[in-house]
């Protein structure tokens, strides 16, 4: 249903920043794809790039986004308007910022309903009430303004709005980040229920890997504008291949099991305005090899997941041999603390 191919997004500047670099993946009907990564890895930019919602100085410089057979990137505004919200809708991070503060919820629903047809007032009212009930909000709140609702209600109202036309794909940009843990859980469950009921696909972006992995079908890990790993959730979460995914997981120790020291991933994401010769994760990698500095890895398939790491690319080297080599080849003092927990 959605096919992203070679998508590249750059922020124009004296030195352009390539926030999304040659990203390709696909989403099937009714699928729940989770995208995780740290701040600045390009996941939100990727989302907006897919939905054609970028603003200057951000620009799509290469690639295509094929949705139901047509390439969104080359469409005109008029053509895009027809698709927007009917087939593809968006849920943003902070409902307080994403909802127009001077219009009532009902007015904002009516806005979009009228933008795609000529519904009668009764039809608008009925449909608006219907979607609100889907997310367990009393339809009386159609008259409320955004600031009059609680944070959780606002977020659910946004999701309700996204479902007004029962689209094929709903893109969600960290919709739970602004909520407390309890509200997060309940919202996720509700989203999953709605998906089961209405059958839309979801691309869900977050930095909270453990949260999304309970609900997603497939999981994609992004780093520095590229896909680091992508595959079935159970596989990526259970046995992460890429050292970065590994690191992310280790940062969330399980609540059960023995107590382990908290580990993070040392260092910081690379400067995306500079082109890198080798692997972008190399400076922070616990399992890096000499060739990682010079050779940029491509995505390769391994046991059903795609992973971008030289550990799995080089045909001559046995990947498992790299495990023992890491303790001796890595010279970075800080990474030796990870060596004990890496395997």
């Amino acid at each position: 249903m959605l096919e992203v191919s070679g998508l590249t997004v750059e922020y124009a500047a004296n030195r352009p920043v390539r926030a999304v670099d040659n990203v390709s993946f696909s989403v099937a009907s009714g699928e729940f794809l989770g995208i995780v990564g740290e701040s600045g890895c390009g996941k939100s930019t990727l989302l907006f790039g897919i939905a054609q919602l970028l603003s200057p100085p951000a620009e799509i410089t290469a690639g295509s986004v094929t949705f139901d057979g047509t390439n969104l990137v080359t469409m005109t505004q008029r053509q895009l308007s027809a698709i927007r919200w009917r087939d593809l809708s968006v849920v943003m991070q902070s409902a307080m910022n994403a909802l127009n503060p001077v219009k009532s919820i009902g007015a904002q629903f009516a806005d979009v309903l009228r933008a795609h047809g000529r519904p009668s007032r009764k039809e608008i009212a009925d449909r608006s009430a219907e979607v609100l009930r889907l997310v367990s909000i009393d339809p009386v709140h159609l008259h409320s303004y955004p600031h009059q609702l609680s944070g959780g209600m606002r977020q659910r109202a946004m999701i309700a709005m996204a479902l007004l036309f029962t689209p094929d794909l709903v893109i969600m940009d960290e919709p739970t980040s602004a909520l407390d843990v309890v509200a997060q859980r309940s919202l996720m469950t509700q989203i999953k229920d709605l998906q089961a009921k209405l059958g839309f696909a979801i691309i869900f972006v977050t930095h909270d890997m453990s949260l999304v992995s309970h609900f997603s079908d497939r999981l994609m890990v992004m780093y520095a504008g590229q896909i680091a790993e992508i595959g079935d959730t159970r596989q990526v979460f259970g046995t992460p291949l890429h050292p970065y995914s590994r690191g992310l997981l280790d940062a969330f120790p399980g609540i059960r099991g023995p107590r382990v020291a908290l580990t993070g991933i040392p260092g910081a994401p690379p400067d995306l305005s500079v082109t890198h010769a080798g692997c972008r994760f190399e400076p922070r990698c616990a399992r890096r090899m000499p060739e990682c500095q010079t050779t940029a890895p491509d995505l390769v398939n391994r046991d059903g997941s795609d992973v971008r790491c030289l550990l799995y690319t080089a045909p001559a080297t046995d990947p498992d041999a790299g495990t023992d080599a890491s303790a001796t080849t890595s010279t970075d003092a800080t990474t030796s603390t990870n060596a004990g927990t890496a395997q």
Binding site: F48, A51, L53, S55, P56, Q77, L80, S81, A82, I83, R84, W85, R86, S89, V90, M92, Q93, S94, N97, A98, L99, N100, P101, V102, K103, S104, D111, V112, A115, H116, Y145, H147, Q148
Partner: protein, 327 residues
């Protein structure tokens, strides 16, 4: 509701401050202008009027200051704003009444026009950022807002009045015609108003446009604007309903507050064009040392600005739902 009450309270406080300022000004000035003026009045004014004038100007040595103040407040409230010196024996309130019409017409209409136009241009300029309008308008307007009002007026007189002889540049209407609600008379009124209105428009439009543009630029970066795009709404709808509304509303009161500056410009324009409005009258009063009239006009202008601000506050309360909730 609380918002409106709060703003009404502010209105009353400022009104009180202005009236009190008016009371103390002549008393604080060196040379005691009141005494000199009283001498001119004595013998020509009835006892009651004299007492009122004395209270107004602090020449009343028989009563203590607080008592004077109370009497003064009473006089102001009842419309007894003193007697004009120059237009003796007409009371100040009557003299002012003649000029209000002219000023309301010229300044009132022009300010509304400038606001509407300026806001519109600002919105469009921000919308097409980097486009033609945005590159030309802001620097041009920055420069025009730095030009002194009266100079623009003088240049207009020079170019359109004297050189090209297109439009008259003095007075409110043809002085030889008799004032009446006839089409021909109103025609001359319009003619005479054109140049001063244009001058006022050019000098005041700059601020509105620049502020609006900057506010719009900030608003356009907001998430709900992006959301509106995602919903597939028409660009015009997004521009007005989502962006402009949010850019204008919080600043409506701020706009009204800058009316104080506009008033200054209007006074100068009236002076340059000999336009018989409130500002022109004020400057004449200064020249003629007609202090009662001068103070009366000052009070009038201040009250007018305050009322305008209050109206803007009420408009904000009506159109911005956030103000209605308990703060």
């Amino acid at each position: 509701m609380r918002y409106v009450l709060r703003r009404a309270g502010f209105f009353l406080v400022t009104l009180w401050a202005a009236v009190t300022l008016n009371f103390f000004l002549p008393r604080m000035m060196p040379g005691n202008p009141a005494v000199a003026m009283m001498a001119k009045f004595r013998g020509r004014v009835s006892g009651q009027e004299l007492a009122a004038l004395e209270t107004l100007f602090g020449a009343n040595n028989r009563q203590s200051l607080p008592v004077q103040y109370v009497h003064y407040l009473g006089d102001i409230a009842s419309g007894n704003w003193g007697t004009s010196l120059f237009y003796f024996p007409s009371p100040v309130s009557q003299v002012i009444r003649g000029a209000i019409f002219w000023t309301l017409g010229l300044v009132g209409v022009t300010t509304i026009l400038a606001f509407a136009l300026g806001t519109g241009v600002g919105i469009v300029a921000a919308w097409r950022r980097g486009g033609l309008l945005d590159s030309i308008a802001p620097p041009l307007l920055v420069i025009t807002s730095a030009i002194p009002y009266f100079w623009v007026g003088m240049m207009f007189i020079l170019i359109f009045g004297l050189k090209l002889q297109w439009l008259p540049w003095s007075g409110g209407a043809d002085l030889t015609a008799t004032p009446a609600w006839t089409l021909s008379y109103l025609g001359t009124v319009l003619q005479h108003a054109l140049l001063p209105a244009l001058a006022l428009l050019i000098t005041t439009i700059g601020t509105w446009t620049l502020t609006m543009r900057n506010n719009m630029v900030t608003t356009l970066a907001e998430d709900y604007v992006r959301m509106a795009r995602a919903k597939g709404l028409r660009p015009s709808r997004i521009m007005f309903d989502y962006a402009a509304r949010n850019a204008v509303l919080p600043n409506l009161t701020g706009f009204a507050m800058s009316l104080g500056f506009i008033v200054g410009g209007a006074i100068l324009i009236e002076y340059v064009f000999n336009y018989p409005g409130v500002g022109y009258m004020l400057l004449q009063a200064v020249e003629n040392e007609d202090y009662p009239l001068m103070q009366g006009l000052f009070l009038l202008i201040t009250v007018a600005v305050l009322v305008a601000i209050l109206l803007a506050d009420i408009a904000t309360a009506i159109f911005d739902p956030r103000t209605r909730s308990a703060q």
